[in-house]
Symmetry: C2
Subunit: 341 residues, 2 copies
């Protein structure tokens, strides 16, 4: 059994108050007693009971993290970033998995609030369209940091990727490789990310004075390999000719490439293909897949840093800053676009 404060106090012939104050470096305790207390505590390995401490201080040193898809490599890199940063600052992570469902997300948030987490770091589920549960967090004075999938209208701190610039980079890369008939398999109309990637695509076209052709834009609802395959097929059978393709995710790109292979269309020589997200697989497939890296681990790190910063402001100034942070993407050039132009 771990010793209690009382036991320490008894052993040292001090009051629990004195021991507690010594441990927490109160200025009104003599240096001598502090030394005695600290060395004894170290010896017996005493640590304050977190739950008991909470009852007085209302701080649990716990962060709730909600991920929409726990098997998605991108979110795991984010989680890794969060955890590394959290550990450094003595925070504990409790993990929730919304499975892309708004209902699950809601449940998790209520659970976290009940557990009195100091903050919630999360990415919204695909599903999420109403935001009362998020406002509940804010009204509860719990710090909320949204990362990646988020809604601009929510009043909290945010970290997100500059998807528009990312889409621009991807498209421009194709243009520089000599592509002029560039298709785009975009994501669903709802999450901001896919809209922004699409806007980046359009901007790159107009910047390089290539006429936009709505027939070359198809929508992938789930962003899956299968959809990529089917969209490529649809485009091919419609007779529209292309020499470049920018896909909203790596998975969609992989599906498209699979279709092109079947039809003996060479990637990259006949069609250059680029994805988005830098998933694990892209490096191993043949041809290896060019993509846009979102720097997931950094996103996690920044989300946690935003939390820490907000926490500090909250403590000293009793208010929140609600900072927004936009991260840059990085173009990863690989075989699927390595045509000599």
């Amino acid at each position: 059994m771990r010793p209690s404060l009382k036991q320490i106090a008894n052993a040292l012939n001090l009051s629990t108050a004195a021991v507690s104050k010594a441990l927490n470096d109160y200025p009104d305790i003599s240096l001598a007693t502090k030394k005695i207390v600290k060395s004894y505590v170290k010896k017996v390995g005493y640590k304050a009971n977190i739950q008991a401490t909470y009852l007085r201080t209302q701080k649990t040193m716990t962060i709730g993290v909600i991920l929409p898809d726990i098997t998605n490599h991108f979110f795991l890199e984010i989680l890794k970033g969060i955890m590394t940063q959290a550990n450094k600052n003595k925070y504990t992570i409790i993990l929730g998995h919304s499975k892309e469902s708004e209902a699950e997300e809601k449940k998790l948030i209520y659970q976290f609030l009940q557990q009195k987490v100091d903050g919630i770091l999360m990415s919204l589920a695909q599903d999420t369209s109403r935001f009362e549960h998020l406002n509940k967090v804010i009204n509860n004075k719990t710090i909320l940091v949204l990362f990646d999938k988020l809604a601009r209208t929510i009043n909290c701190s945010k970290v997100f990727v500059d998807d528009k610039k990312g889409g621009f980079k991807a498209t421009q890369h194709l243009i520089k490789k000599g592509c002029t008939k560039i298709a785009h398999f975009r994501g669903d109309l709802n999450p901001q990310n896919s809209i922004d990637r699409y806007l980046g695509y359009r901007e790159a076209l107009s910047f390089h004075e290539i006429k936009f052709d709505p027939n070359k834009v198809l929508i992938s609802r789930k962003g899956s390999v299968k959809e990529g395959y089917l969209l490529a097929k649809k485009l091919y059978e419609s007779g529209i000719k292309i020499d470049g393709l920018f896909c909203v995710t790596d998975m969609v790109a992989l599906g498209a490439i699979r279709f092109f292979k079947e039809r003996k269309i060479n990637v990259p020589n006949d069609i250059c293909v680029i994805g988005f997200s830098k998933t694990m697989v892209g490096k191993f497939v043949n041809p290896s897949l060019s993509t846009v890296d979102q720097k997931a681990s950094k996103m996690g790190k920044m989300a946690m840093k935003l939390f820490l910063s907000e926490e500090k402001i909250l403590k000293t100034e009793k208010r929140l800053e609600n900072q927004s942070l936009q991260l840059n993407t990085k173009l990863i050039k690989r075989e699927s676009t390595s045509k000599v132009s």
Copy 2:
């Protein structure tokens, strides 16, 4: 602000004791009051404060999970299994990442014990060779469940894959495809898993009366793609001829295949290759990779179930059962072994 027990009691003109008992279904409270209390509580959305409850009951309804590698898809599937099962039973998961380091693992365990988790579910770090920290968990009467990477000697509940049978299946599959000169890139000598896969390999050979040739067994320390490549190269340059290859992980197999491709050695026609673990990539590469599925999600589910079962036994009989559970693997046949024999 969430209401407290006291506020509920005041509003209902009852004592806090009565309200608490009603909520926890004590038999000595009238059905009528229970109804009143419960409906009121539901209306105002009261939930008992977890930390305060803990102080009395010593139950935190929290499970600590330690993963050696948080970006490894296999562990994430396990985590998914654990979480689904945990949620069903109202448990919260706090997550630790040991990064394959014994020191980190130790720290996390001490942190979890301090946080008074009800149980710890973990897979050992590659690094871990001493077990005091695990014994500390056991002595602390905290339930310990080890999954996947474990040490047989530790006195706790365990879930693991039947690696030997898995290795047997993989090797036998090659044999059935007509391979007779089968190499094995095995894992390091330390973790039990790679030893068992190796033993399965040997058993399959001897079962099918193929002479074992130690020169066909090479060791991959880290199980990486690069090592697979280098081992394949080494074997090739040594002049030893093979027509089948069983690798300790999918990554090693991928590396080997990359080398064979470079040398225009056809997989599967010249050499059949099979991996182990069913990583994401295997499905997308060309040729797609045959492998042995470890059913990670089931492993997580079972780990959590073992915990629940131990918890029940601990509560009623004040002792632990320390159950061991061995899971079966499943052969996944894909292109890398689809030679017609």
